[in-house]
Amino acid sequence: MAGKKRRKFALKEGEMPLSAMIDVVFQLLIYFVVTQKPIIENTLLTVDLPAPGGKPKDKPITLFTIDVNRIKQNPKEDLDIYYVNGIKWNFQDLRAQLVRTAQIDPKQTLIISCGPSAKHQKLIQLLDACTEAGLTSINVVNDDTLQFIPDPGTKSK
């Protein structure tokens, strides 16, 4: 087989050598197929922080202060348990309550007090429920009265 010779084709006048271009085109195609990522849609949940030293223009009428991870001694608290003005609420009930609240007044200011040991997922879940209800005036405050109990393998400071 070693002695087998490839026949060379002579290009006709006006013909372009396509084989090199096809090689490059295929390489490009393979590159794009490999580097393509699935389209993942993101959302941004907006919260406002109080401006330092600034005075609020209108004093918000607050009915709700929702505590995320209120229990001091139990960092592995259930993701579905929240405390509204000190009363324990299941997430599904709270969600329905938020919808009812938004129907009365969508500009209702909501204060979410988040404990240091709470998982971020729990806060996002609550913010998502607020978005679903149509509540837009949400403040997130940090509850410094609670002790931080770090998860194993995480930074403690």
């Binding site: 085109v25 959302t43 940090n142």
Partner: protein
Amino acid sequence: MARHRRKNEYGEMAMPISAMIDITFLLIIFFVVTAAMDKEVEDEAIILSKAPHGKPLAKKDPRGIVINVRKTGEININAVEKTMSEITASLTVAALKWGNDMPIIIRGDKDVQHYHIKKVMEAITKTGLYKIRFDALIE
């Protein structure tokens, strides 16, 4: 049914490649158009929480700074790990340049404890910025 392939003028077997090249070019155009070249460096280690009722992003504010908070509590901007004082310095410069109403996007891992998010929030408050946006996934 025996099919005979066309022979070219040199007597060799020839494949009709023009249709294949057309499709290949169409595919390349599709991938070039849909490739997000301007996408920022995202921290792949972060698993975002899901917020199925969030509004999809129509247009991103170009002024926004993305702060990544990993599950372990490490904080980085554009995949460069930063201390809290460095983050405060960066935010101060950005606030002077773009104004206090520029949004700060916090990409927190779903399992990170709020203590680490709180540190970032405090740094943001210190600089006079007040618009925070939490990044999440629409399922």
